[in-house]
C-alpha cells in the first residue's frame, strides 16, 4: 500500500516534469505551421437613436429634435452609415425671433481606425457624410436695429413671416467612438465638422439654423455638430477575422 503511494507520487512527478517540455514542443510546432488566429466577427445592421437630441428636447424649451442612425458593415473596417432626423429650433435675441423647422438625411461611410483585441468590435472611427435638409424658417418677431435711443421703442413687427421650401446640402467629416457595453448594444459619441455646399437663402433674410447642419455662422460656410447615440447591432452573418500572432 505504501509502496503504491510512492510509485504514484513518482509517476506524477515525472509527468509534471515532462509536461512542460511537451507543451513547449507543441507551441513551437504550431508556430511553424500556422502564425494566425482566426476569430469570428459579426456583420450586420446597427440601428440607433441620438439620446443627446432627445435629452435636449426635454431640457431646452426652444428645441425639439430626434435622429435615428444606422450603419451596415461592409468589410473589416468599412461601414456604410447614415442618419435621418428632424429638428425644430428657435433662435431669439434682441432683434430677431426665428423658428427653423425641418428634416434631414445624411449618408456616407465610417472607417474604423481602432485595432480591436481578438473578436471585440469597438470603433474609433472617422467618416464622411453628405447631408440634405428641407426646412422652413419662420420669422416670429423682429425689431429694427437702431443705435439711436431718442424714441422709446424701436419698431417691432409681430406679424409672422414664413419662408417655406428651403433646402441645403452640406458635407461632413466625423470622428467618434462606439463601444459595445452589452452584447450587441453600443454607446457612442461623435463630433462633426460641416461645410455648407449650397443653400436656399430666403429673400432679405438668411438661414440661421439648418436642421441637421446646426446653426450657421456669419463668418463662413462652416458648422459644427455633436451626437450621443445608443445603437443595437442586428447580426446578419459572421465572418472570420485573421489575427497575425506576433513573436
Amino acid at each position: 500500500m505504501k509502496m503504491q503511494r510512492i510509485s504514484i507520487f513518482i509517476i506524477s512527478l515525472i509527468v509534471l516534469m515532462v509536461l512542460p517540455l511537451t507543451s513547449l514542443a507543441q507551441e513551437v510546432q504550431e508556430k511553424n505551421v500556422n502564425d494566425t488566429i482566426v476569430v469570428k466577427q459579426k456583420y450586420g445592421l446597427r440601428l440607433g437613436g441620438d439620446i443627446g437630441r432627445l435629452a435636449r428636447s426635454f431640457i431646452d424649451d426652444d428645441y425639439t429634435g430626434f435622429e435615428i442612425s444606422g450603419d451596415y458593415r461592409l468589410t473589416q473596417k468599412l461601414y456604410l452609415a447614415g442618419e435621418l432626423g428632424t429638428e425644430e429650433n428657435i433662435i431669439r435675441n434682441d432683434y430677431l425671433d426665428v423658428t427653423s423647422k425641418g428634416s434631414y438625411f445624411k449618408a456616407g461611410i465610417d472607417y474604423n481606425l481602432y485595432r480591436n483585441w481578438l473578436d471585440m468590435e469597438n470603433l474609433i472611427y472617422t467618416g464622411m457624410r453628405v447631408g440634405v435638409s428641407t426646412f422652413s424658417q419662420k420669422l416670429n418677431r423682429y425689431t429694427i436695429y437702431t443705435t439711436d435711443q431718442y424714441y422709446d421703442t424701436p419698431f417691432t413687427s409681430t406679424d409672422p413671416q414664413e419662408f417655406k421650401g428651403l433646402s441645403a446640402i452640406w458635407a461632413e467629416l466625423i470622428v467618434g467612438i462606439k463601444a459595445e457595453v452589452v452584447t450587441n448594444l453600443f454607446v457612442g459619441i461623435n463630433a462633426q465638422l460641416k461645410g455648407l455646399v449650397t443653400e436656399d437663402q430666403p429673400t432679405n433674410f438668411e438661414n440661421l439654423f439648418i436642421p441637421g447642419f446646426n446653426r450657421t455662422f456669419d463668418s463662413g460656410r462652416f458648422g459644427f455638430g455633436f451626437g450621443y447615440n445608443v445603437s443595437y447591432l442586428i447580426p446578419i452573418y459572421k465572418k472570420n477575422k485573421k489575427i497575425a500572432v506576433e513573436d
Binding site: I91, N93, D94, Y95, L96, Y142, T143, I144, Y145, T146, D148, Y150, Y151, P154, F155, S157, N204, F205, E206, L208, T216, D218
Partner: protein, 119 residues
C-alpha cells in the same frame, strides 16, 4: 437752437449753435408713407425776459419717407433705409426757416446730408 420731435419733451439738440442736425426718423409702419415732425426753436435762451423783440421762434418741419427693411446679420437683425424722402416747413405767421429742400431722396447712411434747411 433747440430741436425736439413734436410732442416729445426730450431734446435732440439742446441750446447749441450748429450747422447740421441729425434727426431720428420714426418707423411706425412698413412700406407706406411715415411722417416725423420736428420743432426747431430759435433763440430759446432769450425767452428769459418778456421783450417781444427777442422772443424765441419755433418752426415745425415735417419729413415724409417710406421705410424699407434690409437684413443685416443674425446679431443685428434688420435695419431700415428710407425711400421717397420729402420735407416741408409748416407755414406760420413768422417763419425763420426760409426754405427746405431735399438733396437725396434715399437715406441709407447717416454720414451725408439729405436735406438742406435755409434760414
Amino acid at each position: 437752437m433747440d430741436v425736439t420731435a413734436e410732442n416729445n419733451p426730450n431734446y435732440i439738440v439742446n441750446d447749441k449753435t450748429i450747422d447740421s442736425i441729425v434727426l431720428p426718423l420714426r418707423v411706425d409702419a412698413l412700406d407706406i408713407m411715415n411722417t416725423s415732425r420736428f420743432v426747431l426753436t430759435k433763440d430759446r435762451d432769450y425767452d428769459l425776459d418778456d421783450d417781444p423783440n427777442t422772443a424765441s421762434n419755433a418752426d415745425i418741419i415735417e419729413v415724409n419717407y417710406t421705410p424699407e427693411l434690409i437684413y443685416v446679420s443674425r446679431a443685428c437683425g434688420y435695419k431700415s433705409v428710407f425711400n421717397n424722402l420729402s420735407a416741408n416747413r409748416e407755414t406760420d405767421p413768422n417763419n425763420w426757416i426760409i426754405n427746405i429742400e431735399v438733396i437725396k431722396d434715399t437715406i441709407n447712411n447717416e454720414n451725408a446730408a439729405h436735406i438742406n434747411i435755409y434760414h
